[in-house]
């Protein structure tokens, strides 16, 4: 069954490459590049494109936050509190009379930054530990794998809460906690990838040529592990933002007056009946950003992982 599947999935690839070779008969024959193929496929995936547009929208919103509205995000204006959406305040104002659109835009900065740094941190440490465990094996693999097991033995949000309970509630600490809970996810992924690659013939060939471990790792093993890492990073970006918002909502992350979306929801909770718009905008923003990353992540997985192609 497996063989059959492989044949099937490799079909379109062959077709593509032979076709392009055929079409470029008079020009230089372009070598088939899996990355280009993946990109082409990604562009054809409407869901992934939609996700990409959503994320670009929020990035621009964050960048141009100061130019977007005439209001500062922390401007308390009690005369205009809980104003419904209008031409003056597109998304209305909150209980301190602050413009919600402005706060959403500044909140995009916070959420995207938290996502970026948490994922980068988890990625760097996870990859490092995963490579060491997978490549060197033996007791060091034992040790690192058990640490991953232990970290994964806690439901992730609970572990994040425990970490924040230790180091104290703040946005930076929430970021650190989210990075830590994501380390084993990357670590395990890279480890299993390295273990399967380690036995490949071309690695053996490299070793036979006298290449040192470090060089084999950097030039052969890591480049071949990039695809699943990219997919995981994109998906983790979304979860990290969700986790940061959850911590903010519980009062364990960003603290008011910071316009973090989760913290905004916590503040708005009391006005649910009086001013529902205070709750809708931050919630929809969190959902859209996470959805955007999930769409891109799914698209990337389909494009980069030939086994998933259909």
């Amino acid at each position: 069954m497996n063989v059959e599947k492989k044949e099937k999935t490799s079909d379109p690839l062959e077709e593509n490459s032979s076709q392009s070779r055929y079409m470029n008969d008079d020009e230089d024959v372009k070598p088939f590049s899996p990355w280009k193929d993946a990109f082409k496929q990604l562009r054809r995936n409407r869901f992934a494109v939609a996700g990409f547009i959503i994320i670009v929208f929020f990035i621009l919103l964050g960048i141009f936050a100061p130019l977007l509205t005439p209001y500062p995000y922390d401007n308390v204006n009690l005369a205009d509190r809980l104003v419904a959406p209008s031409s003056e305040y597109w998304l209305g104002t909150d209980d301190a009379g602050r413009d919600i659109l402005t706060r959403i835009a500044y909140g995009a900065r916070i959420s995207l930054m938290v996502g970026f740094f948490a994922v980068t941190g988890a990625l760097v440490f996870g990859t490092l530990l995963g490579v060491i465990a997978g490549y060197y094996g033996r007791w060091i693999d034992m040790l690192i794998s058990r640490i991953f097991d232990i970290l994964l033995a806690f439901p992730s949000i609970l572990l994040a809460i425990a970490i924040v309970a230790i180091i104290g509630p703040s946005l930076e600490n929430a970021l650190i906690a989210i990075a830590i809970i994501n380390i084993p996810i990357f670590g395990r992924l890279v480890r299993s990838r390295v273990i399967s690659l380690r036995e490949e013939e071309y690695i053996m060939a490299a070793r036979a040529q006298g290449m040192k471990n470090g060089r084999i790792l950097i030039h052969h093993i890591l480049p071949n592990s990039v695809a699943p890492i990219i997919v995981q990073s994109t998906l983790s970006f979304g979860t990290a933002i969700l986790e940061a918002a959850a911590l903010g909502f519980l009062g364990l992350g960003a603290e008011p007056p910071d316009p973090e979306w989760g913290a905004m929801l916590a503040e708005a909770r009391g006005f649910i009946q009086l001013a529902p718009w205070t709750l809708i905008a931050p919630g929809v923003s969190i959902m859209l950003v996470v959805l955007g990353f999930n769409l891109i992540g799914d698209g990337l997985r389909d494009a980069l992982d030939p086994k998933m192609k259909n």
Partner: protein, 333 residues
């Protein structure tokens, strides 16, 4: 099977040790003097000394950890600083509340998720498939706490179909027996109460169950699509079995194995994730218990609450792992 079970149990030991090390460290990694942090800035030296002695904070770390584990093994989870009660004694109602909520959330998630996934696979690329998968994608991306707030706003406050908070009508509390309120109200033979209890469960269960529902739907769909392509399904179809029988009797059996994994994992995740749902719906579960303890700096409760949830999580994962082999004997380790 036996050898695998034993190996899996042995692997649990370092994990359990690691877990206790982490929960033990919660108190000791707090920057500054733990007694000071617990009692606040204005604590007198005497009060601090008393607390240090009662919590054994002035012993060396190794000795403290040893005592901590020894107490745990004897079922002593420490004493709450706030209620002064033994945690092992007061924790059960909270655990029962969380179990009940998790059970109904998973019931909702499995019923809707599995069926939506099956129909999506059956009618692949139809409008139902498209809508269901879009809905599932949104469901995965939904912040649970926001969904909970929206439910409260629409179904409790605007429409008043369901109560907004709590497990029961607080003006008319029930004499608890097992602390599973649905079971208790049945045991009391009080059927109006069964209805009220179930009504209290609706909104929090849906909020908590939405993410697993979406994940289960997506998993069921892709797994069904795979199985539907296999030879034995073609044979069953050729034999002349009806669509319904082919799908629910033959295909689902094999498609269900990966779904079961997801169900197991999600049940564990829900136990931890319940903290947000419980806070919003004032559900007196283990999540609220820990969350309140954080606000009151009740460190023994934080430690034991987290440890208990992690322990249940580990056990669920173990059961799921062992069940694989039982359900699908083709899997070998």
């Amino acid at each position: 099977m036996f050898a695998y079970t034993m190996r899996r149990l042995l692997m649990l030991i370092p994990v359990l040790i690691g877990m206790t090390l982490i929960t033990f460290s919660i108190v000791h990694l707090i920057p500054g003097n733990p007694a000071q942090v617990i009692l606040g800035e204005t604590a007198t030296a005497e009060a601090m000394q008393n607390l240090e002695e009662s919590m054994g904070l002035n012993e060396p770390y190794a000795v403290q950890y040893f005592i901590y584990v020894q107490d745990l093994l004897q079922g002593d989870l420490g004493t709450s600083l706030r209620s002064k009660a033994e945690i092992a004694k007061e924790i059960w109602p909270y655990i029962a509340a969380t179990f009940e909520l998790t059970f109904f959330a998973m019931l909702f998630a499995i019923f809707i998720g599995v069926n939506a996934g099956i129909i999506s696979a059956w009618k692949q690329n139809s409008w139902f498939d498209f809508l269901a998968m879009l809905f599932a994608l949104i469901g995965v991306s939904m912040p649970v706490f926001w969904l909970a707030l929206m439910e409260q706003w629409i179904f409790a406050q605007e429409l008043s179909w369901f109560p907004a908070t709590g497990r029961q009508d607080n003006r008319d509390p029930m004499e608890p027996i097992t602390y599973f309120f649905v079971i208790d109200s049945i045991l009391h033979m009080d059927f109006t109460r069964v209805i009220t209890t179930l009504k209290h469960l609706v909104l929090p269960s849906i909020a908590l169950g939405t993410i697993p529902m979406a994940i289960i739907a997506r998993m069921t769909r892709s797994s069904m699509l795979e199985v539907m392509k296999s030879d034995y399904i073609r044979t069953v179809k050729a034999k002349g079995s009806g669509q319904f029988l082919v799908i629910y009797k033959h295909a689902l059996k094999n498609a269900f194995i990966p779904v079961l994994t997801v169900i197991g994992l999600q049940t564990g995740v829900l136990l931890g994730g319940a903290i947000l749902t419980e806070t919003i719906f004032s559900w007196p579960g283990i999540g609220s218990y820990v969350y309140q303890a954080i606000n009151y700096r009740d460190y023994p409760v934080i430690q034991s609450g987290i440890l208990v949830v992690a322990f249940i999580f580990v056990i669920i994962n173990l059961v799921v792992d062992l069940m694989y082999k039982f359900i699908d004997p083709r899997i070998s380790y």
